[in-house]
């Protein structure tokens, strides 16, 4: 049993220096044998991370280090693979950057953290967590799993996310969601715009809120939603014919609307302090 464990944890590290790389760059490859539902965590200071599904039973990591002022620490636990960029003395945003290209089994859950660079994850049905102050986030094709995204100023794009909880916090980065449906979808934005184009499906709860960022939600004519929208100082528009419903606050025309479309299976709340809100019909 023990030798099997050791064999399973075998890590193969390949270091290639100078092959097809810019001067000073170092390429390293790591391969981990893993079981089901492994958790893959990549903590990077600077640089992009891309994670896509690969073969079952294996996590493969290619790290391109921009200089020798950064190291890659890697470890494997029973159900985890942890990769961390470790800055050495004198490293800065350029010299400390690492580019990660990773493949993992589709049932893996993925945690990516990088201050800048693109964080890309696609094709998983394990939880996906992406964070970074300036990171540009792109997550797509995730089903039956939770998606959590936190950025300050980087834009966020989410495409084809189904059947899980989605929670997004962003300050100034725009948030664009296409075909994002699930039991719970929440976006908390400051000045970033929120654009949602989807069905508001699944009988879920959808909360899209901002401080000053505009909110534009596009849904099909057959959508089944109970919607409440309100902007304290911004304009509010609605393309749907709503069956009116009671709210706890007065509905001021031009600043708020509330009602139902179809069977009102899902709950949609669009709130902004001074952003414009527009519920569009596709």
């Amino acid at each position: 049993m023990l030798s099997r464990q050791r064999a399973r944890n075998l890590v193969v590290v390949v270091v290639l220096a100078g092959v097809g790389l810019a001067s000073g760059e170092i390429r390293k490859e790591y391969h981990f044998s893993v079981g089901r539902k492994v958790n893959v965590s990549i903590i990077n200071q600077y640089g992009p991370i891309s994670v896509k599904p690969g073969v079952k039973g294996q996590v493969s990591v290619t790290a391109i280090l921009h200089s020798d002022k950064v190291e890659v620490d890697q470890s494997q636990g029973r159900k985890r693979v942890d990769i961390t960029s470790h800055l050495l003395s004198g490293a800065d945003e350029e010299s400390g950057a690492v580019e990660y290209i990773v493949t993992a089994p589709p049932d893996a859950s993925v945690n990516l953290h990088s201050r800048n660079g693109t964080l890309h994850a696609e094709g998983f049905h394990g939880d996906v967590t992406l964070e970074g102050a300036e990171a540009i986030v792109d997550v797509r094709d995730v089903s039956d799993a939770h998606v959590h995204v936190r950025t300050l100023n980087g834009p966020i794009t989410m495409t084809n996310i189904r059947e899980g909880h989605v929670e997004v916090t962003s300050l100034s980065g725009d948030v664009v969601m296409s075909s994002v449906n699930g039991p719970f979808v929440q976006v908390n934005s400051n000045s970033g715009k929120i654009r949602y184009d989807g069905e508001f499906g699944g009988g879920g709860e959808y909360f899209l809120t901002s401080h000053t960022g505009d909110i534009e939600a596009t849904a099909p004519s057959y959508a089944s939603i109970e919607v409440v929208a309100r902007s304290e100082q911004g304009k509010v528009e609605n393309d749907f014919q709503l069956q009116p419903r009671h709210t706890s606050f007065p509905i001021k025309t031009g600043s708020a609307f509330a009602g139902t479309v179809g069977k009102a299976a899902s709950s949609v709340k669009l709130f902004s302090i001074s952003g414009k809100i527009h519920l569009k019909k596709r």
């Binding site: 903590i43 967590t129 300050l152 916090t169 908390n188 401080h211 706890s248 606050f249 302090i273």
Partner: protein
């Protein structure tokens, strides 16, 4: 005793309530003997299922966030001031306490706002009542209790300056970016409080406030938290 009668009493037998008749039957009946062995095997092997799986890190993140939102965790600062150490060590000491303090902002900001409005004791936990850092919502404090808000504004600005100083090694453009972020979230907090004043007991206004403090906590965490737990 036949097999049917034996199986009728099997649940008690497996609990240790054995009769002489049952023992006799077992000795002579291989089918019932096998049945008992198999059920005992299942019972023994069941323990393998205890603590055999592990939740994703997301669960702890969510718990930690909620604990902060509810004011159930408190920062090092409340135990006796921030630890100001020279150079990089200052950054490392801040790194632990500031996200926790930032998390307190979410709950205490809302609760203290309500306290000012209603002049009733806040529903705070015992831990959050012990010397929690005062909060402010930003520079403008025209509407109510100007002195109180001004005090909190100063305290908040001090916290923000400490955060920016802790990032001193990171470069001026990065500090400028975080300074802008803090201005944005403080502006959101101001406007959210204004909205709450105009619409007391309004859930939407309360939600704005919660969202604004959540964003403030996110700025602190992402500014300082280099690695996930």
């Amino acid at each position: 005793m036949n097999c049917l009668e034996f199986e009728e009493l099997l649940p008690e037998f497996l609990e240790g309530v054995e009769s002489h008749e049952q023992q006799t039957h077992l000795r002579s009946c291989s089918a019932c003997s096998d049945l008992v062995s198999e059920l005992n095997t299942i019972c023994r092997q069941a323990r393998l299922l205890q603590a055999s799986d592990e939740p994703s890190p997301r669960v702890w993140h969510a718990i930690r966030r909620q604990l902060r939102d509810e004011g159930l965790v408190r920062s090092q600062a409340e135990k006796g001031g921030l630890t100001m150490l020279p150079g990089g060590a200052h950054h490392r000491s801040m790194r632990w306490m500031l996200p926790v303090a930032a998390g307190l902002l979410v709950t205490l900001g809302v609760v203290r706002y309500e306290q000012r409005e209603r002049s009733t004791p806040p529903m705070m936990t015992q831990s959050s009542l012990r010397g929690a850092a005062p909060l402010s919502t930003g520079a403008s404090s025209s509407s109510i209790s100007g002195q109180g808000l001004a005090d909190e504004s100063v305290a908040n600005a001090n916290e923000d300056e400490q955060l920016l100083n802790a990032l001193g090694a990171e470069g001026s453009s990065l500090r400028a970016a975080y300074r802008t972020d803090l201005q944005d979230v403080n502006g959101y907090i101001r406007d959210a409080e204004e909205s709450a004043r105009k619409h007391p007991n309004d859930e939407v206004a309360q939600q704005y406030l919660m969202n604004a403090y959540e964003q403030r906590a996110t700025v602190y965490e992402l500014a300082l938290d280099r690695s996930q737990p």
